[in-house]
Subunit: 365 residues, 4 copies
């Protein structure tokens, strides 16, 4: 079941960039949740290509239809099927890449793995697949918000070597959405946008880091061993196209501290047990401790560029690939809602699991 | 099923640092594999406490018994039960931490999650649990070696700010095992050992980074979407105690390159399609491409230190925890075989899944 | 993941009898399989309401569209999304049952479970959901046929107390399809049809037993313990609406024999190890032994009848439900392709699992 | 993961009849449950060989040790490892069957499937494996009893053609345990015992049917589609050695009624919605409706008999197997606690799943 994610709140995505469309089945969603297509469309619009001048100019409306599981505005507890038809397909654009493996794309590995591939637009490896996750994530976010005012906020913290100032709290959604690059610091955002535009002009691309913070998360989510909260978040993040790294709390830079510098002392803050610092990033022993979750995901520069590149064709001949047409010089702005969606999917699943094992029965003393 | 890992080659670990012992059930192991307790013990000995002067001085022999699934030296295809009795338990050592939450340990979160905890030695959060994974991983490594000469080699690449020179190939097992710190570069290893000893004397601890390289891995392992090979490796690594980050190939530093600098051109090398560089780290589109797998895992400095620390007791009173007794100033040397074990478990599972979906039936052209 | 079935060849169904439509995602299907919408439609037409005078007269065309996972007539190895839009919805027909629980339907239990239900046409409990299984099963059947000439044949063996003569071999598809009741014995079929017509006239309903035989199944499918082949077949059958029992081989009547009467002696038949009799029904120790699979499923009389029935309304008042409109006096003829589909789904999953564990690696002697 | 059962309350069994022993890991058990080895031993003693004159005379004490997951008499929420060492192994007893396939045993299919088998005592196919399930089931039963006074009672309802009178309520545990055959009707029990003794003397064996009733089960357990409560019970029962059939409520005999005879009318009984009859067997639409669960499982006559039987040896030669030594003329008395254990495992898993999806979040009106 390689296209299924989550153990209790489960999603199955389907669809390629070609063909009828893409979609998702959400299985295990609690009943009676008020949800509308508009709420889901809101998140899809944040992911949609062509939304701003610094993303790909491909036009996709990504209009979602809920085809099952919701009745008179509320979830039924049955699987929620959602469908997003494909549009703007231009198979002729794919003539060259039919026979040439694009460097650092999935063309070669897909063909090796399956013995067949659809060369049109990347098929299943296309970022288009993530629309299904965003649609499912919108439902998960809604539940988290209603159930515990849990807020998930992702934002671009660096593009290439332009780094936003560190933030200690969740930026507002408005601050994130204020600029096309989804970096909440306006001065940095301006520089990032200029850099992305310059990469586009050069036919090149850039990568960067997205940080995500979650507040109001209950304590107790995550499991001691394999299903540590950070392990499932890491899996969720590295399951996104173009990702190369994940870190939580102090992350890689924390390895340069000593234990006495790194440990988070406990304190009693207004009757609640809290940590004075948050180098743990909100998890200890794999389990949420009530502090803000903080983690970062590294996105490589987009593999599609317009510069000529050495490669090999399907018959093994060395050749040159000359990019042409539209390209997306930087995926990070559109990846922000995707990071939030995957985060929401991980959290809701762990919340329901925590409830099943640790809240269903109470045996007192 | 929070203590179960893998979809086809599956392991279930059990056991705490107190009580009868720990163990693992390996479910789905192919039959007819020659395997002995000695081969498994070899890996356990690399993980064992007290093996060198720079690790914890706790004495545990970690003697494994195969209790099922192997008959006359070969696997039966039935579940392999392995059992490692506990030893050297000193409940009296835990008197203080019974009531005080150790900073950056799992004490507080376990109690919050389950409403009960065993305070003796960390219970399930103890690194002792990983012995079960190492035992299972030894079997996975054996299969990978027999089936495709796949070699997995982890090694310490940095401790605090001491960084080993970058390596482009797998170091030999001998080079890794030559020093107590398991860094294959002898000069760096010497500095690392000195640093760890100094941290021990100071009652403090240090962290670092473990790099892992895999060679001879077949192409085609990993799935396009959720179960990308790097996603499952990230989950495996972040499921280890004390980890804070994961990166594959170019990782976080790759975000500072442009696409034209970062992409790996394809070439035809002696009749095989290869990439000229390996910033991808051996995976493209979530699937192995035949190059070496290369990834790194960040380990924080050990939470147990002997310096006094501010904390809170189980009744919410602020207090001071004074560490005493034995402590492990740096977990990385012992984590090296654990990283290898988790890697082997991820790879064998994907290999069997790849076989099931893409090799069971051949429909030709 | 309550709406997901299978471990390696996995399906997720979605959709209710109201709303946009129903569908299925097939995850894990081998690539390169030639498949067309027509092949799938063929099976759906066998399940379709209104196909003959003895089934419900509801008109549904059940037209399937493959929306992903198939490219130029072959599977890609990616998830296959299939979509069957709803038609012929008459919400006004459901006014009475909005407030009254239909006896032996799922109205009461759904409301109790979820706290909400869609009363229109049974929602998720409607047999309409099985169309998704039939579509997925059509793919599984195709693979089984191509890979090993495996043939699955279900047929009605009894309706109420009319019992077809026992068969020792697979009847032909033609013989099964020759009559509206799908009983391959023409004389019995005639009596069954008369009985069903008479039940319809009386506003009543009848049940019966469907037998299923599978030939050319390889040995070795099924697992020793929980996932015995008969256990998964039993689960598959009892997951169908209106089923009350399952038996394999000698079944319940085998309990009246002694061991010496019941055991199947082995013999060497033309160089192949075979059993002289087949009271085992094709499985021994949970694993297929190369003989025909033979099992039977009991279907209760349809719960929807037109006679007045005592019941309770949603406010707890005792009342009378007066059935009206169309009803299906006997589900068995339409259940025949559904039984075949679920059988195919169980078998393909076990075949791929057998391959993964026991064929991926060969360790010789 | 063929040796793993359950989605939220999960068990993994391991062990063969030879070797060190057998055991089980219970993963997902709620914390704080008071449980002792004695409670588990009680159920194991009911399953133990040699307990009465009508079962096998093999002596096994089946002494269980809890090796993890329980601390000071309460579950920790971590995996519970339980271990039952093997005893009374007589490898010399297996000389003949090393080379000859026992009819209607798993010898041939295991060898075919795995290419290797342990011929000593059936290995994994031995009923000995069920001891792990009984140990895990004892925990599940305890939870069900504490949480909702749920009582599970299995009993022998027929042996060969001796049928106990139908019962409409749960017999007491005392009535079941009063006779060696575990049939609560004393007169029938006496006849059954005589029949079993006579089968033993003849070197033959007999089968029969075990009925199981569950009272006080909450409504709402079970899922609409694949994981219907009866589907998972059917799987659980058919996963037991020697089973050939399963039926719930009216079962196979219900197929001989009309809908108007078969439907269970609803009524308001003292303010609670109930059904007047219970041909549904406690489930409607796959979900428990608050009535008693009632289902039956068919067990074939034991395959091991002492009469000579035609068979084939591992080289394909036709030969005769002459049984000798001890044999178990009827497994049903010992299967009673096993049926109860599997039932408890299915119910607890569904209860926790129901809680996770439908009780974790409440969205009101």
């Amino acid at each position: 079941m390689p296209n299924i994610f989550g153990k209790v709140f489960t999603i199955a995505t389907w669809g390629e960039s070609h063909g009828g469309g893409i979609g998702v089945v959400v299985d295990g969603c609690p009943p009676n949740l008020p949800i509308t297509e508009e709420e889901i469309q809101f998140e899809l619009d944040r992911r949609r290509p062509g939304q701003s001048i610094i993303t790909t100019q491909r036009k996709e409306t990504d209009s979602v239809t809920i085809v099952s599981g919701v009745y008179e505005g509320r979830t039924l507890g049955t699987p929620i099927g959602m469908y997003i038809p494909n549009a703007d397909q231009r198979p002729e654009a794919y003539a060259e890449i039919k026979k040439k493996f694009r460097p650092s794309h999935a063309d070669y590995t897909y063909l090796t793995k399956f013995g067949i591939r659809n060369h049109e637009g990347g098929g299943r490896s296309s970022a288009r697949e993530t629309a299904g996750r965003v649609a499912a994530g919108a439902i998960a976010k809604k539940i988290l918000r209603l159930a515990g005012q849990v807020e998930i906020r992702a934002y671009v913290s660096s593009i290439k070597d332009i780094q936003a100032p560190a933030s200690e709290t969740l930026p507002s959604l408005e601050a994130v959405e204020a600029t096309a690059v989804r970096c909440p610091d306006p001065t940095t955002a301006e520089k990032m946008i200029a850099l992305i535009k310059s990469a586009r002009r050069a036919g090149d691309s850039v990568g960067g880091v997205i940080e995500c913070r979650v507040k109001n998360l209950p304590t107790g989510l995550g499991e001691p061993v394999f299903d540590r909260l950070e392990a499932d978040l890491a899996k969720g993040m590295l399951s996104l196209p173009a990702t190369k790294g994940f870190e939580i709390g102090s992350g890689f830079s924390g390895t340069r501290l000593t234990g006495s510098q790194h440990n988070d002392p406990f304190e009693n803050r207004r009757g609640r047990i809290r940590t004075s610092t948050n180098r743990s990033g909100g998890v200890q022993g794999g389990i949420s401790n009530g502090e803000d979750l903080v983690f970062r995901t590294a996105f490589k520069p987009t593999a599609t560029i317009l510069k000529p590149q050495s490669t090999v064709d399907t018959e093994g001949n060395e050749t040159v690939l000359r990019g042409r047409g539209r390209h997306d010089p930087c995926v990070l702005p559109r990846a922000v809602p995707i990071v939030e969606a995957m985060t929401a999917l991980v959290l809701i699943d762990h919340w329901m699991r925590q409830s099943a094992q640790n809240r269903t029965f109470r045996f007192g003393d």
